[in-house]
Amino acid sequence: MKAKLFLGFSLIFLSCYLKAQCVSDNCNSKLGTFTYLKTIYIDNTKLQDKPNMVTYLFSKGSTYMVLCCDQAIKGSRLIVNVYDKDKNLIATNKLKKKVYPSIQYPCSATGIYYIESFYEDSKDPCGVNILGFTKS
């Protein structure tokens, strides 16, 4: 447990430090009319094979945007999936082999949702998810 704590801490430490290097600042602007909510850092080390999983409560009446900010290099795209509280897949940004930069989800059912992110290919991955919302 302590080791995990230490590692987790260290990774975040490093990743926070490293973030500046790969993600451009104008990624936020891609939100457009959506209001910024949070940045989801994807901790990607070779030790963890599990995709990054974050929970959030989506509320009825709002539309949420999950934005992928990555290096846009083929083969290193960031994939994001959204599941409901029962782990039903609600949305994904990869449709028919095309990777979209964002998902828009107008919520009609308030509840906990899971946002899962991973890389297509683990070669030098680097990126974050940005979450935004607006009124439906």
Binding site: F6, F9, S10, F13, Y17
Partner: protein
């Protein structure tokens, strides 16, 4: 004459008058004229009535009826005589109790005068007078003398020394002292009472004489006061002339004063005096005369030792005046032309305090006697309790001021006295008075040099010798005054040059000399050309060839010098008393000085008592933005006050110092006295300031510390002020200097401009510039700020926690990430091979090495083991990774520490605020005792770069108040706002360390003051 004497006299007159034949008209007339001589009409009548009453009251028969009757029975006479004797005795006994000896003598003389009025020196009357004289304890000799004086009997030899006869007779019939007065008809006889040192004189003859300006009445016996003059046909007879004959001529000291080939050059190089030769023995009054600019005052200054001659020597009994100063100390006195009096003191006090400094072993009563005697001699007794005042605000007349000036030096009767124009500005009567005094002093054995300008004929003749100077410092005559006139007349080919003084009137015209000297050439039209006929050099050479000096035997006896000045401690005491009295006397001074501080404090704190209206209308100390500025302004204000109070101190005294330099008083005592008084003033001022300022602005809990620091600062300002005061010669210069001394302290105090934002040649960076460390303001400000932050009731319990927590947080948040950045940069640079990159790499690795070493000193738990790899050659990505791991471990270590301290602090905090009251009290204390803006300042809240690279180190800029200084012997050069410092290896609070520094600076300033360094440096510059 006092009322008491008059009453006694009336009684005695009455008794005497009714002896024998009873009182007659002649007696009554005598009494009336006697009274009229000194009183106004009303009082005359009053006392006359008293006399009548006494006559009537004691007689069975009214005096007037005595005429018709024949001589009453002798038996009756004797009876009345006896009872009258008793009455006389009673009165005399009463008189003994109330009158002083002098007054009794006067009474006696007046009694005799009564007899003389009627010329009835009957047995009974004389007997009564004798009774009186005996009762008065008048010595027998004097009693006999006075009787003879009045009866004009022959003077027996044994009491002849008490008489002086002035007449035109060359033959002497008695052994009495004699003064020859040409052309005097009859004689003036004078009697002296040695026991009380009184002289009485009367005249019998046909001339019309004046005594003190009043026509002489032959039936009156005059009391001859010092300075009196008697106008005789051929001139004037002075009191001192008469006294001279009475005085004993044995001299304890044999003195010789020799000036040989004296030359003096001014600082600019111009020659002020050339080839002066003077030789004098004791008992002489020498006049120094000359045209304006001839060099009279210069000569005086050189002779007295104030200036050093450039050639030649001045010797007193073989001792050189400039070289052997210690041995001749106390022998020389110098009375300057300006009056050197202390304005706020009375005449008596001025003289008394001066006396205290001149005489070592005299008791206060003895001193009082001497002072009173001196005052009396100079005719200042009546004015003794009047405040001297200054030239603009005179309380005593100019003549009296001058006389007091002379009294100050006269009191110790220096063997050689130099007087600069004692008569300037005085009336002719006052002038004569003064010169008479000096003459008397010279008769007693002193050698006196007097610079005199346009003397009257009488004064001119008083001099034993005169020394005449011409423009350029040439000595053109040295010898007897009257002969001088003759010499010049001859040189100028005047008519009757063998006549010195006027035959008829005895007048000499000294102006003649100068007219001759300065006579100008006349052109063909008869106009004056403005060129002198004869140049000074010509006069000088003429003098040298024509006038011969008598042989002078220089005496080299050791001088008995009774001059002893009191010890340093006593001097100190006297200086303090003098200063204190003078200051207390000046109400304006007191008022301004003691109001200055509180008024300024009130102004300052009132104006900046800011209430931020966001949080309500109540004043909250915590939210007052201006508190750091207030603290700084307090320091600056006290600096100003301290400087202005002291700036004029020594300058004010400069005249007095000039005079006292001949006393060789201890400069240490003098300076110390000044310092002590100023310190007391500073203490009071800072007290008032702190009380009012801190009260209004509600700075709590720090009053004593504030007072002490401001007092310290004011004292150092006092010493700066004293230094300027002693060095500069005009008040204006001194005051102009004050901004020059205060503004740098304002700039470099550390408040207006922070030290890290200065010109890089002065400062910048994390240390304090050296120049700022010379400013007391910097130390005071830092001391107060740190003290307030650290020890206020809010922060004090938590300071150590806050310190540790902040430091750890800073390490984690700024320090370590910065190091990580540097190591990453190093990695990048290590891959580049150009020279610039390699140099940068070297620097960066040096920083890392130094910082790891520094860290290792304080933190032994997390160490880096691969220090050897931190060189440009060996630095690789592996090293980088190791380094980063180390940093991570370090970070984790600090995180752990952080949590620990944080927990402790919060536990303590929780325990204090666990109740509603606790919570409320916490807020109150926070609001009342701490100030947010002060915290921001000492924590450098807004500094941009929290750590900066300096000299291959990474130095912390943020939170200076939390940085522990390195353990040094003396922390003289550590960062600003350090929480504590080290002195001699021991930890000491910043406040005390800084106070000690300022006191140290003050001590240095005192040493500078004592050695007059500033003054000497300035003189050095002016000489160039």
């Amino acid at each position: 004459m006092s009322e008491e004497i008059l009453r006694a006299l009336m009684q005695l007159f009455a008794i005497i008058a009714k002896q024998d034949d009873g009182s007659g008209d002649s007696e009554r007339n005598f009494v009336r004229s006697f009274l009229a001589f000194q009183l106004n009409k009303a009082k005359t009548e009053e006392y006359l009535l008293l006399y009548d009453n006494y006559l009537i009251g004691k007689d069975e028969k009214p005096a007037k009826t005595a005429e018709g009757e024949d001589a009453p029975a002798p038996k009756k006479r004797r009876l009345t005589s006896v009872s009258d004797s008793l009455k006389t005795l009673t009165i005399c006994l009463k008189i003994n109790k109330t009158l002083a000896q002098k007054q009794k003598v006067i009474v006696l003389v007046r009694l005799y005068e009564l007899l003389k009025a009627n010329n009835s020196f009957t047995e009974q009357r004389v007997e009564i007078i004798n009774t009186a004289a005996e009762t008065f304890n008048i010595p027998e000799e004097e009693r006999r003398a006075v009787e003879i004086f009045f009866t004009h009997a022959d003077i027996p030899d044994d009491i002849a020394q008490h008489f002086v006869i002035i007449d035109d007779n060359a033959d002497r019939t008695t052994k009495a002292n004699h003064i020859h007065s040409e052309g005097l008809d009859g004689e003036i006889s004078t009697i002296r009472f040695p026991s009380v040192n009184l002289l009485f004189t009367s005249y019998t003859g046909n001339n019309e004489l004046n005594i003190n300006g009043i026509p002489v009445n032959q039936s009156i016996v005059y009391l001859l006061a010092p300075g009196s003059t008697i106008r005789v046909p051929r001139g004037t007879i002075y009191y001192s002339d008469i006294v001279e004959t009475f005085l004993n001529k044995t001299q304890a000291n044999k003195l010789s004063f020799v000036v040989e080939n004296l030359e003096y050059k001014f600082p600019g190089g111009k020659i002020g005096l050339r080839d002066i030769n003077i030789s004098e023995s004791h008992s002489a009054l020498v006049g120094i005369m000359g045209a304006s600019g001839a060099g009279k005052t210069t000569l005086l200054n050189v002779l007295s030792g104030i200036e050093t001659p450039s050639a030649g020597s001045i010797r007193i009994n073989g001792l050189d005046v400039t070289k052997d100063k210690t041995q001749i100390k106390g022998l020389i006195g110098y009375i300057s032309q300006d009056d050197l009096l202390i304005e706020e003191l009375t005449v008596y006090q001025n003289l008394y305090i001066n006396a205290q400094l001149c005489f070592k072993d005299k008791s206060p009563d003895e001193l009082k006697t001497i002072v009173l005697a001196t005052l009396e001699n100079l005719g200042l007794l009546e004015t003794r309790d009047i405040i001297v005042g200054n030239a603009l605000n005179k309380k005593i007349s100019g003549g009296q001021r001058k006389r007091l000036n002379i009294a100050l030096d006269l009191i110790r009767e220096p063997a050689i006295l130099f007087v600069d124009e004692p008569t300037s500005g005085l009336s002719s009567r006052d002038s004569e008075n003064v010169m008479d005094l000096l003459k008397e002093l010279s008769l007693k054995g002193n050698l006196i040099f007097v610079v005199i300008h346009q003397p009257s004929s009488d004064i001119f003749k008083m001099f034993d010798k005169i020394c005449v100077l011409d423009v350029g410092g040439y000595n053109i005559y040295y010898g007897n005054p009257v002969e001088a006139v003759m010499y010049f007349k001859e040189a100028a080919n005047h008519v009757n040059c063998d006549v010195g003084e006027c035959e008829l009137c005895g007048n000499v015209n000294p102006e003649l000399i100068f007219n001759i000297l300065e006579s100008q050439e006349v052109d063909e039209y008869g106009n004056y050309t403005g060129n002198r006929k004869v140049q000074p050099e010509e006069w000088h050479s003429s003098f040298k060839t024509n006038v011969k000096f008598p042989d002078f035997k220089e005496v080299k006896d050791k001088i008995f010098n009774s001059f002893k000045i009191p010890g340093i401690l006593k001097q100190l005491f006297v200086f303090i008393k003098r200063d204190l009295l003078s200051k207390i006397g000046n109400k304006q001074y007191l008022l301004i000085n003691f109001l200055e501080a509180p008024v300024l404090a009130a102004l300052l704190s009132f104006v900046i008592r800011y209430t931020s209206r966001i949080k309500g209308s109540e004043y909250i100390f915590r939210d007052n933005d201006n508190v750091p500025a207030y603290i700084f302004m307090c320091v600056i204000v006290m600096l100003f006050i301290g400087l202005t109070v002291s700036a004029e101190e020594i300058y004010k005294d400069r005249k007095i110092l000039k005079r006292e330099r001949f006393l060789n008083l201890s400069p240490f005592a003098y300076y110390l006295s000044k310092v002590k008084i100023l310190f007391v003033i500073s203490a009071i001022q800072s007290l008032l300031f702190v009380l009012i300022g801190n009260y209004i602005i509600e700075l709590k809990g720090m009053n004593v510390q504030c007072w002490f620091m401001l007092f310290t600062v004011a004292c150092s300002a006092n010493l700066i002020g004293l230094n300027i005061s002693s060095a500069f010669n005009s008040a204006v210069t001194i005051y102009i200097l004050i901004p020059l001394l205060v503004i740098p302290q304002l700039i470099l105090g550390g408040a207006m401009f922070t030290f890290d934002k200065l010109n890089s040649s002065i400062g910048g960076g994390s240390g304090v510039p050296y120049i700022a460390s010379m400013m007391p303001s910097r130390w005071a400000y830092e001391g107060l700020m740190v003290q307030q932050f650290r020890y206020n009731n809010y922060e004090a319990p938590f300071f150590d926690f806050d310190k540790n927590i902040s430091q750890i947080n800073n390490k984690m948040t700024y320090y370590i990430p910065e190091l990580v950045q540097i190591s990453t940069d190093a990695l990048r640079l290590s891959k580049e091979k150009d020279v610039k990159s390699q140099a940068e790499l070297k620097e960066k690795l040096a920083i890392i090495r130094n910082e790891l070493a520094r860290e290792a000193k304080i933190n032994k738990d997390v160490l880096f083991n691969d220090m050897a790899y931190l060189t440009p050659k060996k630095y690789s990505s592996i090293t980088f990774e190791n380094l980063n791991n180390h940093f991570l471990r370090l970070n984790r270590y600090y995180n752990f520490q952080f949590i620990r301290y944080d927990l402790k602090k919060n536990l303590k905090l929780s325990s204090l605020v666990d109740s509603k009251e606790g919570q409320a009290m916490f807020q109150r204390i926070k609001n009342k005792y701490s100030n947010e803006y002060l915290e921001d300042v000492v924590r450098k809240e807004y500094v941009k770069n929290k750590y900066i690279v300096e000299n291959e180190r990474l130095n912390q800029q943020i939170d200076p108040i939390y940085i522990n200084p390195p353990n040094q012997y003396i922390s003289y050069n550590i960062h600003f706002f350090s929480p504590n410092k080290y002195l001699f290896g021991k930890e000491i609070s910043t406040f005390w360390f800084n106070s000690i520094v300022i006191w140290f600076i003050s001590l240095l300033l005192f040493i500078l003051l004592y050695f007059e360094v500033l003054k000497k440096t300035l003189n050095l510059f002016s000489k160039r």
